[in-house]
Every structure is written in structure tokens, then in C-alpha cells.
Symmetry: C2
Subunit: 162 residues, 2 copies
DNA sequence: TATTGTTATACTCTATAACTATA
DNA sequence: TATAGTTATAGAGTATAACAATA
């Protein structure tokens, strides 16, 4: 968990004491992998900053959104949809279940599998967190107008082949 | 370290046994935070896949690039430039030093600080890794033509306020 | 007093391997 | 045999706190 001081650290306008301010050279500053990593880092940190009062991570939130529109997913399906290992999904679902936000039930159609659904408490939690998550996203995307957001969406969608 | 099986897992066209194929709903598939996270995830995994023969992570590689064009950075400057905690930079530089790729020397102008520079071995390693890293980036960006890459660069730069 | 860096430590995330149970 | 999920375990990464050296 990244605490306040780090957010401050990250967002302060750094001005080291000594004269020569180090700069990220253009070759790196215009490097797409660098830009992508930094954008993701910023998104993660702003999400954490805005949701500090709720016991949730960005990925937990994403999983709840998946379950909201797709109730009764198998854990193996969650793994596919999120690009994660089965054991990582077990870990993730364990955490949400401990908070009482999701439930596991054996799938009657295939008793090897467990279907995961949100509980009433989970839905309540999701609703209470949604505004903070939206505020985080607003802050991340603030520099872009609607047209630019659409362009970014289109480019990333193409990049992912989705 | 993500091993081959996971790359395969991630990139195989998943077709679960049971009839109803779960889908990421449009509301999430078009969600910019989701797209950004997935693009970053893809970038990370392709970098790992292409550089498996070299003992290096994407962040190590980024730091070597920083040092290449900006030799003699302080660790605190590295922390600022990469958005990391000081202790994390100590950990990172420790790793590169153990591999003999960077050296720390006290800064004569401010003996509190250590300047970090690449060694000859570090430069050799960087050159041997560069083609694999370039191949990874090529694969990540393959779906985009030059114009689209420029657009993505411009949008992410704006997003970051750089 | 403030800053640079280190160490000790702990927690989160992620994966491997071995297992159980189902199909 | 193959798949779904769990458990035990280990490693990487990241942070906090306390500290030493220097400014």
C-alpha cells in the first residue's frame, strides 16, 4: 500500500539542491514503453490515493465490475479475462470473500468449478467505492478532452487486438 | 518471473469447455483504465518473453537507458525520474551492482550522495540486450502504423503533462 | 535541522509444485 | 487423462521505520 507521503513525493515538483537538474532525455521521454509504464503508474497511484478510505485495490475493483456485469464467472474464466494465473485468482477471490463481497458456490453443471458471485454487501461496497474510483479516473484523464479520450481508447484497443 | 507457460496461457485463444463463453462487457472493454492496464501488462510480458535469456527486468533496462544518457545520477534523482521510493532505488541499484553493470561512488561535491554510473560490463550487457528489447517493443507496437504510434505518443505525453 | 543513502523488516503480489475432486 | 481449484511455499517488489553520515 502506497501511503500519502509517497503520493506527495511522486507529485511534488522535484527541485534537487544541486545546480544541474537531471532530465529525462528525449530518447526516453518519447519512448512508448516508458510513457505507457508511467501512465499506468500514475493511474495506479491516483486510484490508491482516491480510494484510501476503502479496503480495495484497482484490481479488486476491476474484478467486482466484471462480476457485476457477468455474475457467476468461473475462477478459470476470471483468470482468462484478466490475464492471471489460476492461483492468483484464488488469492484475489479469497481476499474479496474475506471482506464478504463475493461468494463461491460449486457449479451444479460441472462440480469441479466454482461460480463466483457478488454478495449484497459486495454490491453495497461497489456503490460506495464507485464515486471515488470515478474521481480517480477523472483526475487521470483530466488533461485529455473527449475527442482525445476516444482516440486513446481506439489506439489502445487496436494495440491489444480487442 | 513469468515463465513460458504463462505467456502461452495469456496469448492462447481461450475456449472454455462449457457453452457460454464469458465476455468482457463493452462497458469494461472500452474503459480506459482497463485498456491501459492491459496494454502495460502485455508490454511487461512481451519484454519478459523476449529477454528471458538475459538476467534483466524492464525496469532494470529502463534504468540502464537513463544512466547511458545521464551518467552520474544520484540515487535520489533516479527516484524522482522513475517515480520510486529511495529504498526501492537502493534495491534496484544493489541488483545492478551485483551483476557488475553499475558502480556507486561518493559525489565529491556532496558526500552524502552517491553517483551511479554504468561500468564497461554494463555497457556491454546493454548492447547485448538492446536487440531483444527492441524486438519486444516491435511486437507490442506491431498493430500500430507510424502515424498511430505518433498519435499514441502525443496522447500519453499529454496525459502525463510531460 | 534537513537530506542522502542503508539496513532491517514486513507485507503484497505472483508464480511453481503437489495435491484433491471432478469430468 | 485433462481440467478446476486449493494449499504450501518461495521469490520479487515495494514500502515503513530507524539509523549513519553529511550538509
Amino acid at each position: 500500500m502506497i501511503l500519502d507521503c509517497c503520493i506527495v513525493h511522486y507529485y511534488r515538483l522535484a527541485t534537487p539542491e544541486h545546480a544541474v537538474q537531471p532530465r529525462i532525455p528525449t530518447s526516453i521521454r518519447r519512448h512508448l514503453p516508458y510513457l505507457l509504464a508511467r501512465a499506468y503508474q500514475r493511474q495506479q497511484r491516483l486510484f490508491e490515493a482516491h480510494t484510501r478510505d476503502f479496503d480495495i485495490t484497482g484490481r479488486d475493483y476491476g474484478l467486482l465490475l466484471m462480476l457485476e456485469s457477468n455474475p457467476g464467472l468461473w475462477q478459470s474464466e476470471i483468470a482468462d479475462l484478466m490475464g492471471l494465473d489460476r492461483t492468483t485468482v484464488t488469492y484475489l477471490v479469497d481476499g474479496l470473500q474475506k471482506r464478504g463481497w463475493v461468494a463461491r458456490e460449486p457449479d451444479p453443471a460441472d462440480r469441479r468449478a466454482h461460480v463466483v458471485t457478488m454478495t449484497a454487501d459486495g454490491r453495497t461496497a461497489l456503490e460506495s467505492i464507485r464515486p471515488a474510483a470515478a474521481a480517480a479516473i477523472d483526475e487521470v484523464l483530466a488533461p485529455l478532452d473527449e475527442t482525445e479520450r476516444d482516440q486513446l481508447r481506439a489506439l489502445l484497443t487496436r494495440l491489444l487486438g480487442h
